[in-house]
């Protein structure tokens, strides 16, 4: 493999820092979590004993986990497609050489610099039935009368989803804008000469040329949706209860009102299962979408 014996040593020395960092911050914590996942702890969370690996199956079968997983899936379905469509739409609209477009690009990308906590606070105010703009508008158009979107079991999850879509918009916008600017202008001009109107240029040039970026962004957005915690904690604390209609898997692990909060074994089991589900989901995304992705010449 190595042309000289010394090459192997040099290669090992150069890889050592990366291997050390990955081992300390990724491999060890993951292995530790998997190991902790087979412990059963008492109510104090201090006394733990091994229980074999059945705890993983117990958690999978538990109604709490299944409920949280369902909430998380619905949350991902609400946030990912809408976030992708709005982000791509805004990026395409802003990808024009017209005066003042820089202002709009700054506005559209600004949420990337906004923390989840700040975004949640902004939307907490906007969603308040007493002072919020959104409930006012819904009342004005007769959709709902003075709605408390975050307090209603049917609307709380969509309301948090709006927060998440808004918070992730800057990320999607910046990545897609950069990808748009790397598409050769001649492809669009050629399509114009070939008789393609705006929509046909979008479907025949823009989308195929953006496909690697869209795959990347969709995997990131799905991962973020499955890891949603701060917005749930700040806006609903997993409620409204007793439906626990916004209790995502991550909130089940860390949430202040979560049943598993103080059980290191249960927490680890749930976290490892979330990791496994995300891994499978990402692989499925890559497998199913990669055939439609074009990676240049």
């Amino acid at each position: 493999m190595f042309r000289r014996r010394g090459d192997g040593l040099i290669a090992s020395a150069m890889l050592a820092p990366a291997i050390a960092i990955l081992s300390i911050f990724v491999v060890y914590p993951l292995g530790r979590a998997v190991w902790l996942g087979h412990l059963r702890c008492d109510a104090t969370g201090r006394k733990c004993r091994t229980s074999g690996w059945m705890q993983y199956f117990d958690v999978l079968r538990s109604s709490d986990f299944q409920h949280a997983l369902k909430v998380t899936f619905v949350y991902a379905l609400l946030t990912v497609p809408a976030g992708l469509v709005i982000g791509v739409g805004l990026a395409v609209l802003a990808d024009k050489q017209i005066r003042g477009i820089g202002f709009f690009r700054t506005i559209f990308s600004s949420t990337v610099a906004t923390s989840v906590a700040v975004a949640s606070l902004i939307w907490f105010v906007l969603l308040q039935p007493q002072v919020g703009l959104l409930p006012d508008m819904l009342s004005m158009f007769g959709v709902m009368k003075n709605p408390g979107l975050l307090n209603d079991a049917g609307t709380a999850l969509p309301a948090i989803a709006i927060t998440s879509i808004w918070a992730n918009l800057g990320f999607t916008f910046i990545i897609v804008t950069a990808a748009l600017q790397s598409i050769p202008a001649e492809l669009f001009e050629s399509a114009m000469m070939d008789g393609a109107g705006g929509w046909k240029r979008f479907t025949n040039v823009t989308i195929p040329m953006l496909s690697p970026t869209l795959l990347f962004v969709s995997v990131v957005l799905v991962t973020r949706a499955f890891q949603a915690y701060a917005e749930v904690d700040l806006l609903t604390k997993g409620g409204p209860n007793p439906e626990r209609s916004t209790e995502t898997v991550t909130y089940l692990i860390y949430g202040q009102t979560s049943l598993v909060k103080n059980d290191i074994g249960l927490k680890s089991t749930t976290a490892v299962l979330l990791f496994a589900i995300l891994l499978v989901l990402s692989l499925v995304q890559f497998r199913s979408l990669e055939r439609r992705v074009h990676y240049g010449n």
Binding site: P184, E186, L187, E189, S190, A191, M192, M193, D194, G195, A196, G197, K200, N204, V205, P208, M209, S211, H294, G296, N297
Partner: protein
């Protein structure tokens, strides 16, 4: 089929004048080459014909129809880009049929048209490949097929050979000329390569700094250049330009093509020069010398002729019938 007419066309990009008061009449079925150095505005002229740029002022006609304000897709013009601009995610077949698909042509007619174009350009075996799996020459032919399949009134080509290696460029040059003869369409071809211009064009339009310098057949432009720029832009090595006093009376400039520079006996009259460089190219020799006033003179001779050596003092001359005369502003004197 149709000709193309540009009448007093100007194109400004902000404060930069890319094309200035440009008028050109391209006849139906003509192979017109727009020739000039990089940044001279020749591609901008082509793009205004194609509709990809709007003139700041002036009129563009295709056939009898004024094209100002008409969208590219409605001009019945096909374009071959320098980069070919093939859709990398589509197969060769899908690339070629795309212009027909966007126009709603029936799938059977599309398949027949693709097969015809592929047969003409030798692409029949490559139809299911993607552009990334093709060589530069094959991609160039796919771009041509995509233009061809539409049977347009005018073909616009923007330096389509510049990404090919020298050998393939030579072969494709003659293929393009044969294609033009077979189709009988109007071709407008942009290049900065004088060899392409001389070998392909029915006529050449030489452009500098957005201004049309001369239009004529390749021999016209080579043998009777309208000004010093055209004289020195066409020809390898370029035409020598001397102060007239070296050879004859007057304040004008004298131009002599390197092939007509002669080394003569010092008693026969002429100008003394010191040879600085002798380049043997096999079939010909380029000899570069310097006159006493620092003017550089280049001579070109057949490879079989005896050549001076570097450092030799020689006398150079040119017969009066091979001298071109230009006034102080650089324009040709009759």
């Amino acid at each position: 089929m149709a000709g193309v007419q540009l009448i007093k066309v100007t194109k400004n990009f902000g404060s930069v004048v890319a094309v200035d008061d440009f008028s050109l009449d391209i006849a139906d079925k003509e192979f017109m080459v727009l020739l000039g150095p990089s940044g001279c505005g020749k591609s901008t002229v082509l793009r205004m014909i194609a509709g990809l740029e709007a003139p700041t002022s002036g009129e563009v006609f295709i056939g009898d129809h004024l094209m100002n304000g008409v969208a590219p897709k409605d001009r019945d013009v096909a374009m071959v880009f320098q980069s070919y601009a093939l859709y990398p995610h589509k197969t060769v077949r899908a690339n070629i049929e795309f212009p027909l698909k966007t126009r709603g042509v029936d799938s059977k007619l599309r398949a027949a048209a693709v097969a015809d174009a592929a047969a003409v350009l030798g692409l029949a075996d490559l139809l299911d490949r993607k552009p990334g799996q093709l060589s530069g020459g094959q991609r160039q032919r796919v771009a041509l097929a995509r233009a061809l399949v539409r049977d347009p009134q005018v073909f616009c080509m923007d330096e389509p050979l510049s990404n090919l290696d020298a050998k393939l460029r030579g072969e494709t040059r003659s293929e393009l000329v044969a294609l033009h003869q077979r189709l009988g369409s109007t071709f407008v071809y942009v290049t900065h390569d004088q060899v392409e211009a001389m070998t392909m064009g029915s006529r050449i339009a030489v452009i500098v700094a957005g201004v049309l310098q001369q239009v004529g057949s390749p021999t016209d432009v080579y043998d009777r250049p309208a000004n010093i720029f055209v004289a020195t832009f066409l020809g390898t090595p370029p035409m020598n330009i001397f102060p007239a006093q070296l050879f004859e009376a007057g304040e004008h400039s004298v131009g002599v093509r390197p092939e007509y520079v002669r080394f003569v006996d010092s008693h026969s009259g002429g100008v003394e020069a010191t040879i600085r460089l002798v380049e043997h190219l096999g079939h010909e020799v380029h000899v570069t010398g310097v006159l006493a006033d620092g003017t550089v003179v280049v001579a070109r001779h057949g490879g079989e002729e005896a050549s001076p050596r570097s450092g030799d003092m020689v006398t150079v001359s040119a017969e009066a019938r091979h001298r071109h005369r230009f006034d102080v502003s650089g324009r040709r004197l009759a």
